[in-house]
């Protein structure tokens, strides 16, 4: 019916609209369900922005791994996949307790709700503790992002010999710090002086044509396509690649750092829920906050599920 009729309002108008309504129902919604649904949609849209934001970092990661597989394969040796796996499990567990907490809220199990929320906070805390342990090792061996990284040619910190990252991972400090010639720091000169000059335009007419079209550009790492052996050592990288190792750590710290911040925010939110749950504020009629924070907590988990294999399990 394209016609217009003016019908009396289905519900009282104005700010005192709450009388007789659930106190949690905002004045511009008609029903709790409408409010709940729109909150959910809003939260999901927000999660989408989170995914896109991390997407940028994943893009940087992909480009550099795609162009320097050997660098990533070498540098990731510094990460401890044992701790990584443990952290994954910790986070999954906290996801479970969170999902359970939502269920508890929906079923009016008030005590259980508080308990599960507390567990979830613990899970997050555990995750951060383990992360900080990992960060500490990197810090001690000057494997931080950018200029703080011993592999960065602008590195200004105290001159330590390069770490044998593989040994470092196996917790073998001596081997790690033992500066035998394989793991000696390339001097600034070694980085600055190119191996040998390649004429970018060498090659016959076809080469010129192909190159002009979509083909590989001269100077592209020939390692890029070739199959990689199991354990790379520093000596198996050329100087340019050595000078680029810090790129991996930059990506690693940006990704895990941004993720860590999200974990902290999540913990904060859950703590807030925890205290509200102690005050018995949630019920089967009103559990949206638990549900929404839960969604947020799960997306943090989801992102880690991608980060773990991509950062810790390169080969």
């Amino acid at each position: 019916m394209a016609q217009l009729t003016t019908t009396p309002l289905a519900h009282p108008v104005g700010h005192d609209a709450h009388n007789g309504h659930d106190p949690h129902l905002a004045h511009h919604f008609d029903t709790m369900e409408q409010q709940y649904r729109s909150n959910k949609t809003g939260m999901w849209v927000f999660l989408a922005t989170e995914i896109l934001m991390f997407g940028g970092l994943f893009c940087a990661y992909s480009v550099y791994r795609h162009n320097h597989p050997e660098v990533f394969a070498f540098a990731h040796e510094a990460l401890d996949r044992k701790w990584g796996a443990i952290n994954t499990i910790v986070l999954i567990t906290s996801s479970l307790t969170m999902a359970w907490a939502v269920r508890a809220a929906q079923m009016n199990q008030r005590k259980l709700l508080s308990f599960l929320l507390a567990l979830t906070i613990l899970g997050g805390a555990g995750f951060m503790v383990i992360k900080s342990v990992e960060y500490k090792t990197k810090w001690e061996h000057h494997l931080f992002p950018g200029r703080l990284n011993v592999y960065n040619k602008e590195y200004k910190g105290e001159a330590k010999p390069y770490a044998d990252l593989l040994a470092l991972k196996n917790g073998d400090e001596e081997a790690a710090m033992g500066g035998d010639e394989v793991h000696e720091a390339p001097t600034a000169a070694a980085i600055a002086v190119p191996p040998e000059y390649v004429d970018p335009n060498a090659g016959g007419p076809d080469a010129a044509k192909i190159r002009a079209n979509f083909a590989v550009v001269p100077g592209l790492s020939d390692k890029a396509n070739e199959h990689l052996e199991e354990h790379l050592t520093l000596s198996s990288l050329n100087d340019l690649d050595r000078s680029r190792i810090n790129a991996f750590f930059s990506v690693y710290f940006l990704m895990t750092g941004l993720h860590g911040i999200h974990v902290l925010i999540g913990m904060g939110l859950i703590t807030w829920l925890f205290f509200r749950s102690l005050r018995n504020e949630f019920s089967s009629k009103y559990f949206a906050p638990v549900d929404l924070v839960g969604l947020y907590w799960h997306i943090v988990d989801v992102i880690w599920i991608f980060l773990f294999p991509l950062l810790y399990l390169i080969h």
Binding site: V13, V45, F214, R244, S250
Partner: protein, 583 residues
């Protein structure tokens, strides 16, 4: 039965119009504005700040144009620094603080819930938060501006921590922005980050609102077209802006830590930065134009008293444009060393954008056909929009043709093209929308003749400003030049005087509005006889938008309204109710 039987809402006894209870008078005091949750008030606050930003960016533009009156073959370092700072801030302020938020945050915030027949947006607190974040972001820019101006004006006597001014261009290209630029890039980048976040929150709010607050009877294809275009815009804001956020974070990390992702001197790839930037900033161009298209659709049908032509196609073309906008960013990098294959793909996809745009224009023309066209101020802006947008859109063709673009890339041709679309079209839609909804916003009418004069003046000024730039561009005049070869002077002179003309017109607009606020006569609830829901409530609307929820029909079926000499507005005749009474 008489033609006018149903009294208008604002004549109903329970309506506050008599004893002045509308959203403007609902609460008193500054705080009742700064911390209001009312979408209408938030919209008005946005309006003031956004117009302030527009004035600022405009001032920069006029200064730039004045500087370019002369070729400046003997350019001094101080002039150059001042110029580079000003074109950067002109771009940054205009893009991030005016063009992107103007229509969604001002008109969108005010109109969207009203057109939905809703009491507010889905998340009023988030809405307020996004405004506050927007202001904080703006403050960052103001700091950058002051530091730059003060430094340049004092000839480098006064300096600021973290650099002064900003001369990277609004695109923040690496490695200049990461390693060379002395300016307070970090502050500016953080500002842009804030503004982006605010824009995300707005988009999020609109999507949730449109999904969950549509009243009974408003199916997707009974939504006013403004809502469609705002919905499409929100999708872009949601999916693209986060990438800008991460790009800016990477830039900051690059400057502070030297992480070597973008900075070539540290082994990074500057062109990767361009991919990141344009993945956001190309869709952003459509954040600028899509809401404008929605506004045009509303005004054109209301003022030609005719149902919109090809509703479905106009609505769908908005969504189509939004989707396509994500697949064309590479055309900003045709000459940057992108692979020819990527270039070819992006060229094709760029051409495809022309189709939904053409569909829209022709449907608007179809709406004019056999209408009853009232040449009111808003309508003049619409006609102006149709012409400017045609020029802007059509000049996109040579830029999309990849080998012609090689000749035109980074010249004034691109500047002119961009301004015709993003500034001309968008500004005309914004002003038209302001005039169209002004009575609803403030319950006051304005002097229509003054409005029309200003519109014509702005139209002439705009074309005089930017058309010569097409010619300068095809002759190779490069962008961002503080000094230029003398043979280009004629184009610059014309352009500058056009800018002055346009400024005059804009000043008249401002005076017109101020005058209307001061002593404009009371506006009727529906001065245009439009049928979208915002016209079913009093002007200005009550705090809760509707005293009575109107039932939704076809938003462009205006047959139910008849002109009422007494109120000089349109009122519902009872005839349609008779029709619906038997069910």
């Amino acid at each position: 039965m008489t033609a006018i039987s149903t009294p208008l809402p604002h004549d109903l006894p329970h309506d506050g119009h008599g004893h002045g209870d509308n959203y403007l008078t609902h609460g008193k005091g500054l705080m009742s504005w700064l911390f209001t949750l009312d979408h209408k008030r938030i919209g008005l606050m946005y309006m003031t700040v956004v117009l302030g930003a527009f004035a600022l960016g405009g001032a920069f533009a006029v200064a730039l144009r004045t500087h370019l009156l002369w070729p400046h073959q003997d350019l001094t370092a101080q002039q150059a620094e001042l110029y580079n700072n000003m074109f950067t801030l002109h771009g940054a302020v205009m893009v991030f603080m005016f063009i992107i938020p103007a229509i969604p945050a001002v008109l969108g915030n005010f109109i969207l819930p009203l057109q939905l027949g809703a009491k507010d947006v889905a998340f009023p607190r988030l809405n307020l938060l996004s405004f506050h974040i927007y202001c904080i972001g703006g403050l960052f820019f103001v700091y950058v501006l002051l530091s730059g101006v003060v430094h340049a004006a004092t000839g480098g006597q006064v300096t600021f921590p973290g650099g002064f001014g900003l001369d990277t261009g609004w695109t923040f290209y690496a490695p200049y922005s990461t390693s060379k630029a002395s300016g307070s890039v970090t502050a500016a980048v953080l500002g842009a980050f804030m503004l982006g976040f605010s824009s995300i929150l707005t988009g999020l709010n609109f999507i949730a609102t449109i999904h969950s607050l549509r009243p009974k009877g408003m199916t997707w294809f009974r939504m006013p077209l403004l809502l469609w275009s705002l919905y499409a815009t929100s999708i872009i804001q949601i999916l693209a802006t986060p990438v800008l956020a991460i790009t800016l974070l990477l830039l900051v990390a690059e400057r502070t830590l030297g992480i070597g992702i973008f900075d070539s001197s540290l082994g990074g790839d500057p062109v990767l930065m361009q991919h990141f930037f344009w993945f956001y900033s190309h869709p952003a161009v459509y954040i600028m134009i899509l809401p404008a298209m929605g506004v045009i659709s509303e005004i054109i049908t209301a003022h030609s008293r005719k149902h919109i032509f090809g509703y479905t196609f106009v609505a769908m073309s908005s969504v189509g444009i939004a989707m396509l906008s994500f697949f064309v960013w590479g055309h900003h990098m045709f000459v940057s060393g992108q692979s020819p294959m990527a270039g070819a793909i992006f060229s094709l996809l760029t051409f495809l954008v022309a189709l939904p745009s053409a569909v829209k224009v022709f449907n608007w023309l179809g709406t004019l056909y056999k209408g009853d066209i009232h040449l009111t101020t808003p309508m003049l802006y619409v006609l102006g929009f149709l012409l400017l947008f045609s020029i802007g859109g059509l000049t996109g063709l040579p830029l999309a043709a990849i080998n012609v673009d090689v000749h035109l890339h980074d010249t004034y041709f691109v500047i002119a093209h961009f301004h015709y679309v993003a500034m001309g079209s968008m500004l005309f839609a914004f002003l038209g929308g302001m005039y169209h909804w002004w009575p609803k916003m403030f319950g006051k009418m304005y002097n229509d003749n003054a409005g029309r004069v200003a519109a014509v003046l702005i139209f002439i000024g705009f074309n005089l400003t930017f058309f010569p730039q097409f010619i300068a561009g095809t002759h190779g005049m490069p962008r961002r030049y503080a000094s230029y070869p003398p043979e280009f002077q004629i184009y610059h002179v014309l352009s500058t005087f056009g800018a002055y003309t346009m400024t005059t017109g804009l000043v008249i607009v401002l005076l017109n509005w101020v005058h209307s606020l001061a002593r404009g006569k009371k506006a009727p609830a529906n001065p245009w006889g439009a049928n979208t829901l915002e016209w079913h409530t009093s002007s200005p609307p009550p705090h809760d938008n509707f005293k009575v929820t109107p039932e939704v029909g076809d938003p462009y079926d205006m047959s139910g309204w008849v002109y009422d000499q007494a109120t000089e507005g349109w009122v519902l005749s009872d005839e349609p109710r008779a029709a619906t009474s038997h069910h």
